[in-house]
């Protein structure tokens, strides 16, 4: 026992936690600053006056009142993106291949988790569940989603990607797009045949919908409500645990060392006695586990899911991975958080700042614009090193 405790590399547990804190706080402060500055600048223009006419608040106060909620929402979705982005980045790091089907692996995780909870709900277990029991059920749902998604990821790799290893780069990518489309319709087919409806709702149970209020912050004449919903806390804590766990796996264990070795040079790694196929399967498994858990968390946060639910989160998570520097785990965290924040800020404030000309309906393409800008000006991403194309 003692030896086991000693063998734990504490440094590897604390370091990612620190990084997460720095990234979250940094992006929150930076974006809040920008939003408030913009508000101050626009306050005296037509934009501010229009708002004053309508709701009798200055733009600055409006921005300030909404700020805490926006930051928390941004963090929550940012952590979900980060968890999905890790799946992309791990596979890309090892195989230099965009696993396009990762978004559907995420969706399958969400469906399995939600279906499990719906089954529990119809058996009456959810309504009578105590608080502790409901947390247990939620954890069980997340675990089930993880297992299903992980298993699916490994299967997909075995069936649709492994036969194509060594072909030109676009061949497995096209196959991955095919898998993504196939899985979307398979989910729809299975759901349609078994339940007759493919829009599923996360059942409401436990105390997840409540809000914790920390009281009010008085700023001049306005009060800002400080609070956070329990859902968001669960999503953030669960995502943090996963991210720390993954970081530990990759940086402080034997398997992690093997994964890094395969990522660096597949041939040399196999000469060193590493079973490359096994390591690649494990990489897909880990990515799938993270994606599945992220799926259930996403369903918890946004309640409604359909077979195409994975598409946009998947693309955004990919954008996040590229933003952070694809193949780089810390970068995926940073990219996910920054992108989630940026998107939520844009979605909440753009409508007001442009007087309703361009509002939250452009939220979904915001990620693409960032992706294009990053690829043009800093293709290696925020944290990536400039490495040449692998031969």
């Amino acid at each position: 026992m003692n030896r086991f405790v000693q063998s734990i590399n504490v440094n590897e547990l604390i370091r990612p936690l620190g990084q997460l804190m720095v990234f979250s706080l940094g992006s929150a402060i930076a974006l809040s600053g920008i939003a408030l500055m913009l508000a101050l600048v626009l306050d005296q223009t037509a934009v501010g006056l229009a708002l004053q006419d309508k709701y009798n608040v200055t733009l600055y106060t409006y921005t300030l009142i909404n700020l805490p909620q926006v930051v928390i929402d941004g963090l929550t979705i940012g952590f979900v993106y980060a968890a999905i982005a890790l799946g992309y980045t791990m596979v890309y790091g090892v195989l230099e291949f965009i696993n396009f089907a990762h978004s559907e692996i995420f969706a399958v995780g969400a469906f399995i988790g939600v279906e499990f909870l719906i089954a529990m709900d119809s058996s009456g277990l959810l309504r009578s569940a105590s608080i502790g029991m409901s947390y247990l059920l939620l954890i069980l749902a997340i675990l089930l989603g993880m297992v299903a998604a992980g298993g699916l990821a490994v299967t997909v790799e075995r069936v649709a990607y492994r036969p194509l290893r060594g072909a030109s780069r676009l061949v497995p990518l096209i196959s991955a797009i095919g898998v993504s489309f196939l899985l979307q319709d398979v989910i729809r087919l299975v759901e349609g045949l078994t339940t007759g409806d493919f829009n599923r709702i996360f059942p409401s149970f436990g105390n997840f919908d409540q809000r914790l209020n920390f009281g009010k912050l008085a700023l001049g004449a306005t009060n800002i409500n400080l609070g956070i919903s329990i859902k968001s806390i669960i999503v953030i804590v669960a995502a943090m645990l996963m991210l720390i766990g993954l970081n530990y796996l990759v940086n402080a264990t034997r398997i992690g060392k093997a994964i890094r070795a395969v990522a660096q040079d597949r041939h040399t790694a196999s000469l060193m006695g590493i079973n490359v196929n096994r390591i690649i399967s494990i990489t897909f498994l880990v990515g799938g586990l993270l994606g599945g858990a992220a799926g259930v968390l996403y369903a918890l946060k946004f309640t409604r899911i359909d077979p195409f639910v994975g598409f946009f989160p998947g693309l955004k998570a990919f954008a996040a991975a590229v933003l952070g520097g694809i193949g780089n785990l810390t970068g995926a965290l940073l990219g996910g958080i920054v992108l989630g924040m940026l998107e939520t800020f844009a979605g909440s404030y753009m409508g007001v700042f442009t007087m309703g000309a361009a509002g939250s309906e452009y939220k979904d393409i915001f990620a693409f614009s960032i992706l294009i800008l990053v690829l043009i000006f800093r293709p290696q991403g925020l944290m990536g090193e400039n490495v040449g194309q692998k031969a």
């Binding site: 291949f97 965009i98 649709a160 036969p163 194509l164 072909a167 780069r169 676009l170 061949v171 497995p172 990518l173 096209i174 196959s175 797009i177 095919g178 898998v179 993504s180 489309f181 196939l182 899985l183 979307q184 319709d185 398979v186 729809r188 087919l189 759901e191 349609g192 045949l193 007759g196 409806d197 493919f198 598409f311 693309l315 990919f318 954008a319 590229v322 309703g356 000309a357 361009a358 309906e361 452009y362 979904d364 393409i365 990620a367 693409f368 614009s369 992706l371 294009i372 690829l375 043009i376 293709p379 194309q389």
Partner: protein, 449 residues
Amino acid sequence: MISMTIRQLFEQINRGYWPYAIILAHIVLGTAMVYSTPRSSIAFLVLITSFFSLYYFKADIRFKIIVGAILALIVIPIVGVRNIFYLEVIFQVCVFAALALGLNIVVGFAGLLDLGYVAFYAVGAYLWAFFGSQQFYVLHFAPGTQPSNLPFLLPGDAFYLFLFLAIIVAAFTGILLGLPVLRLRGDYLAIVTLGFGEVIRVLANNLDKPLNFTNGPQGITPIQRPTMPETVVEWFNNVFGGMIGHKASTADLYNVMFYFFALMVIIVIIFVTRRVDDSKIGRAWTAVREDETAAIAMGIPLVRMKLAAFALGASFAGVMGVLLAASRTFISPESFSFMQSIGVLSMVILGGSGSIPGAILGAATVTLLNLQILQGFSLYLSELRQSDAVIPLINFAWRDLSTQLDPAKYQRLLFGLILILMMIFRPGGLIPAKRRKRRLASDQATAEQ
């Protein structure tokens, strides 16, 4: 084993005068079947597949051209006017064949995976939709609130001008998108083009404010068509009226006209593609596709060559967009989704990337699967649902089958299966490109040594 026997049989038949007889028999059989049973899809498939026997059997090229022209220009319009649904199917096949040929230049020749190809199609469609409808006068009205008696901005015959304008505008859009992203590696390019496709769709959906350019999700309607002189309708009825059996209306003849336009675009695309493929640019594309680094070393201007492919592919999609807007008189953002892009990609991959007959075969197969077979299957299932039939053994009544199970809506499944299966089992496609065939053959030769 079986495929070997079939191939031997095919070789045996495919010599002397046999091909001429088979081709003619196939066409006559198809025409007769469609003529006697205008509603049967099997008859229709027999007629359509006669194009394949025309392609596959060895015959004099002049014979092939003449028979093909008679088939495409006379037989199909007559059969199509008799049952307008067939003309619609054939028009769709032609539209998708043109799109597949355009994408084939980008994906097949230059090796750039474009997942947002439909965006250029949308650019062309919205170009004519804006200028060829009343939309210009609706700019300051929210969707649904415009007065009813607005004038049209341009006469319908401006359509012809816009066919050419669309080439320029779509090519320009392609260059604009291509300039920043074509430096990227192939897989990044795929994602960025996907993103661009979504950007165009979201813009089409939301540019109904602050100024109403696209009329939002409701789409733009009515869009004008070029004028059709009465004399043409009369002439058509005088000459072919007896064979059709009923009087062809102006609407029928519009369908024929757009079918001819689509055919013309296809012929132009094939001509241009073949000329370009054999030129310096085509060779440069092949070099870029096979090995970028080596291509740069040989002094090929990489970005300029990629831009050329992008712009050429985009311009063809733009023309088809104008054609679509005019033939439908209505467009909405729904027609330009990511699924459409993947649909066109699956046509190119199925037929064989880089292969002109392949792209046409792929487009025909996928479109027919979608429009005829999946929908036929849907109809069959709904008939079963209404009957009292029961699946034997498991004792499951068809009536209880969920109405969600509608095969016509499972296009993604079809596209996905095509992409995966082709990549694993036949990456060269059904009709591999000639150059690729050569390369594969030499690969095998070296492997055997």
